[in-house]
């Protein structure tokens, strides 16, 4: 960022750049860094150009990267609407002071917020603004030949020289053959062979950045055209993929509701097993939903199993198993002794041992002993494994149905479904209902085992705990373009590996006739600063070339001499 302090490294960079000229440039296609000092002349176009240059500079890209990671942090610490709306509501209720501020800052929707979007859109604009010209430069480099040798090869990071009796032309030919065999691109430019290798580094770099754009577009596309819905199914019941069947349904803003994939299934059986001993007792071990599935509107039926990590895939739509619980089967008789209700009532688990709660609502058909229409409601509490009489609270000891007990209390009156307001099926609104009382005038409460019946007072009927079924809830979702995202991801890794592991380097071999009639051979290599292998590679090449153009007798290597600032004798001719 700051260019205020004199930076020796930069000065030397510049010194080097002027010295190496075209040969040293373009080893990558990275744009040249510009300093902030060069403010543009007045004028709108000048400012736009200045802004664009800033945006596409590496420095601003770095700042944007930093902001992106900084901006992602609040989303991991504050509950997000996109992850769990219930948690957001709980948080808002608990933190009334900060909530308005958070809402203003869109902290509950960080990843779709204006400011987060602004950061990554700017970053991608900067990226595109960077890679388009770089691709152009790279294509230009591929079409042209490696640049000619710089004047003073001694200034390069790796250098060697010797004298030989072979003619310069022979040395050039030999050098060309050797470097070409090593798959350098090479040609003779003036008095030297110029060779270059490792173009795939730049190609990998460009592929990686393009792949990032592909991934972003695929992700955005998936968000716009996706849908996901949830459905709770009790054993024996079925589901067919139409929008009315969903308990809840969310779709991207461009999703067309008519394009739901037609299929249906019936939940035959849900199997859950749990750890029976040890410190992790009760931890689930297997969950599987066995279903009878048919593809299309009238497809053939087949048996399938849906597990936690193994969704059912139907033409791009995936059906995931994401929760399960118990649904006690209860029957209700009214005041006249007629069975008016018999159903499996799904209850929601409230802890890891599947202690469950919910409501049983008898809306139609119930008449009291006088034949008057009424509605019944029961608050239900269910434990799959009861601790035992006398010592047990209504909290489950184990998630499997070993000793199931259903606790009920009853109400009658208006459940309130006729008011038109949508109701939570798991909660009972008792504001317009009256409790059933027992003989002592207390609220009627009873714990039932399977097969037991609770009698309602004053001949109001009875409710029987008939049995237990399990339910499973499924998440059904379709996210298009995930294939593109995966392709982008694979390309990104390949490109990244290429751009980080391949070294791009240049080698020059200069051979000129010296004053004493022998030929002075000079070899030098240039790579990005990280390349440690460059001197080794140059030495290998030198050994090969030395075999073809052996050191002339009596001429000791000039290397030590050449290490002084002056170039080797004759090298500049």
């Amino acid at each position: 960022m700051s260019n205020t302090t004199s930076n020796p490294s930069q000065e030397r960079d510049e010194e080097n750049a002027t010295e190496l000229g075209a040969a040293g440039s373009q080893l990558s296609t990275a744009p040249r860094e510009e300093t902030l000092a060069g403010l543009p002349a007045m004028g709108v176009i000048g400012w736009i150009r200045w802004f664009w240059r800033q945006l596409t500079s590496m420095r601003v890209a770095l700042i944007l990267l930093f902001l992106l990671s900084l901006g992602a942090i609040p989303g991991s610490l504050i509950p997000q609407n996109s992850v769990d709306e219930l948690k957001v509501q709980t948080f808002k209720d608990a933190h009334t002071v900060v909530t308005p501020i958070y809402e203003k800052l869109q902290f509950f929707d960080v990843y779709s917020s204006v400011w987060f979007s602004a950061i990554y859109i700017l970053l991608f604009v900067s990226l595109i603004g960077c890679i388009v010209p770089r691709t152009g430069t790279f294509v230009g480099q591929l079409r042209s030949r490696p640049p000619g040798a710089p004047k003073r090869l001694t200034r390069l990071p790796a250098y060697t020289t010797w004298r030989t009796e072979a003619t310069p032309e022979q040395v050039h030919e030999a050098a060309l053959a050797i470097v070409r065999k090593r798959r350098f691109r090479a040609h003779i430019a003036g008095d030297a062979v110029a060779a270059e290798k490792g173009y795939l580094r730049e190609a990998g770099n460009l592929i990686f950045h393009v792949a990032l754009i592909v991934m972003l577009v695929a992700f955005a596309w998936g968000q716009l055209f996706k849908y996901e819905g949830a459905k709770l199914v009790v054993e024996g019941d079925g589901f067919s993929n139409t929008i009315t069947q969903y308990d809840n349904f969310k779709s991207g803003s461009l999703y067309d509701n008519d394009s739901l994939t037609p299929f249906s299934f019936t939940l035959d059986d849900f199997v859950g097993t749990y750890e029976r001993k040890g410190p992790q007792i009760g931890t689930p071990r297997t969950y599987e939903a066995r279903v009878t599935f048919s593809d299309g509107a009238y497809g053939k039926e087949e048996k399938r199993v849906i597990k936690v990590n193994e969704p059912l895939v139907v033409h791009g739509t995936k059906v995931y198993l994401n929760a399960h619980g118990y649904a006690p089967v209860v029957s209700v008789k009214d005041g006249r002794g007629k069975e008016v209700y018999k159903d499996a009532v799904p209850l929601l688990p409230i802890d890891n041992n599947v202690t469950s709660s919910g409501a049983i609502k008898v809306l139609d058909g119930y008449r009291d002993k006088n034949g008057k229409k009424d509605q019944l409601g029961f608050q239900a509490f269910f434990v799959p494994t009861f601790a035992g009489n006398g010592k047990g609270t209504m909290f489950s000891q184990f998630p499997a149905a070993d000793f199931p007990v259903l606790a009920l209390n009853g109400y009658h009156g208006s459940i309130g479904v006729n008011s038109g307001i949508a109701q939570n099926v798991y909660q009972l609104d008792t504001s317009k209902m009256k409790e059933f009382k027992d003989a002592k005038g207390k609220q009627l409460k009873q714990r039932l085992l399977v097969g037991e019946t609770m009698k309602l007072p004053d001949g109001a009927g009875s409710i029987t705990f008939e049995g237990i079924q399990e339910w499973a809830s499924f998440q059904i979702s379709e996210q298009p373009a995930s294939g593109w995202a995966l392709t982008g991801a694979v390309a990104a890794i390949a490109g990244l590996a290429g751009s980080l592991f391949i070294q791009r380097r240049r080698v020059w071999v200069r051979a000129v006739r010296g004053d004493d009639g022998t030929t002075v051979v000079e070899m030098a290599g240039l790579g990005r600063s990280e390349s440690a292998k460059l001197p080794e590679e140059l030495a290998d090449l030198a050994v090969k070339l030395n075999a073809e153009a052996p050191t002339a007798p009596g001429t000791d290597s000039d290397v030590d001499e050449a290490s002084s600032v002056e170039p080797a004798e004759g090298a500049e001719k």
Binding site: M1, G278, A539, N546, S557
Partner: protein, 362 residues
């Protein structure tokens, strides 16, 4: 059935004993390293002079004899042409320090003992990890305890591989062993979970792929992090000397034996750059698994968010290293921040934040 369960518990017990034993051996290695540093501090041979000379373009010419196969099957020893190397523009041409032993015989002896003990401890610890895996019959990284023991085993393994490849890494022995002891201490006391099976969400072959690469990345990032950390000290030490300052005697004793700042900088860059594609792969493998398990491949779960932050931070580091005005210390700070993000993703997110990655007893 009962017999099988008993065998498993025996194995789990064996695993615990092995882990504790490895801690004991690491402790011995720790003391041997201390001895190496102490004895090394008594000799100043070849250090004072070596560290202080900032030569403009010191030409390190090397003459290497190479064997070249010739026609007809004979070989001739050929003097390899001398290659002059110039350090990259802008870096100080300061030679590396002599290492913890400081060139002393006694220090070197203790240093070798420390490395041998580290190898032994590594083997014992690896045995503990394998026994744990056998006792539960699955990948040994289903909870934080298992993750921690595997993590330190892989970190030490990576260090030993670098040593075996004759890389200049012996200087980090003491720091690494200390960190491993802290990690194991934390694992056995705070994070311990007795061996058990996994919740259904973890029943997937992706557990092998996704978590193992995450551990490898963490271990290698950690080694790179050590390099960066020491780089910062060594760099300011070299700066001080270059500006005519006088470093404290302890700082001088320790830092003069470390590799030069430019060596450390290159080392940590190479290590981080080598493993960055693997980290990218880890995140993508996780996304694919999430697509199978949770119905979406990316959902901004806290663990996902922090993996993303870590990735962006390392990307920023790699870019910074190639940008004028950012290379050097600023880039090093970025690398440390990035590793800090990785650590927070591992400990912080597991302990303080609840998300979809919360499993089996932390």
């Amino acid at each position: 059935m009962n017999l099988a369960a008993a065998t498993n518990e025996n194995l789990a017990h064996t695993s615990n004993v092995l882990i504790y034993s490895s801690m004991a051996v690491y402790t011995l290695a720790f003391f041997a390293h201390i001895a190496e540093w102490v004895f090394g501090s008594r000799s100043k041979v070849g250090r004072t002079a070596a560290a202080l000379t900032t030569v403009e373009a010191a030409a390190a010419a090397s003459t290497v004899k190479v064997q070249v196969a010739q026609k007809g099957g004979t070989t001739a020893v050929l003097e390899r042409p001398k290659v002059i190397t110039r350090a990259a523009a802008g870096s100080r041409d300061v030679p590396d320090g002599p290492g913890a032993a400081g060139g002393t015989f006694k220090g070197d002896l203790y240093g070798r003992m420390a490395v041998s003990l580290t190898v032994l401890a590594f083997l014992v610890e690896a045995g503990g990890v394998v026994a744990r895996a056998l006792s539960v019959q699955r990948a040994p990284w289903g909870n934080m305890y298992e993750f921690s023991i595997t993590f330190s085993t892989v970190a030490v393994g990576a260090y030993l591989i670098l040593l075996a490849l004759k890389k200049n890494v012996r200087w980090m022995g003491l720091i690494l062993v200390t960190a491993v002891l802290l990690d194991l201490g934390l694992a056995t006391t705070v994070l311990y979970t007795s061996s058990d099976q996994l919740v259904p969400a973890l029943h997937s072959y992706w557990l092998w792929i996704h978590v193992s690469t995450a551990i490898i990345c963490g271990a290698v990032f950690f080694i790179g992090g050590i390099g960066t950390f020491i780089y910062l000290f060594r760099d300011s030490y070299e700066n001080k000397i270059a500006n005519g300052g006088e470093p404290g005697s302890f700082a001088h004793s320790v830092l003069s034996r470390m590799p030069s700042a430019s060596t450390l900088d290159k080392f940590s860059y190479r290590v981080n750059a080598a493993v960055f594609p693997l980290w990218t792969f880890t995140i993508i493998a996780g996304a694919i698994w999430a697509g199978d398990a949770w119905g979406r491949y990316w959902g901004w779960d806290p663990k996902e968010v922090w993996s993303f932050i870590t990735w962006v931070a390392y990307a920023a580091y790699l870019h910074a290293r190639a940008t004028a005005g950012w290379k050097g210390r600023k880039a090093a700070y970025l690398a440390l921040i990035a590793f800090g993000c990785w650590i927070f993703n591992y400990y912080g997110v597991n302990i303080f934040v609840t998300g979809k990655h919360s499993y089996a007893g932390v």
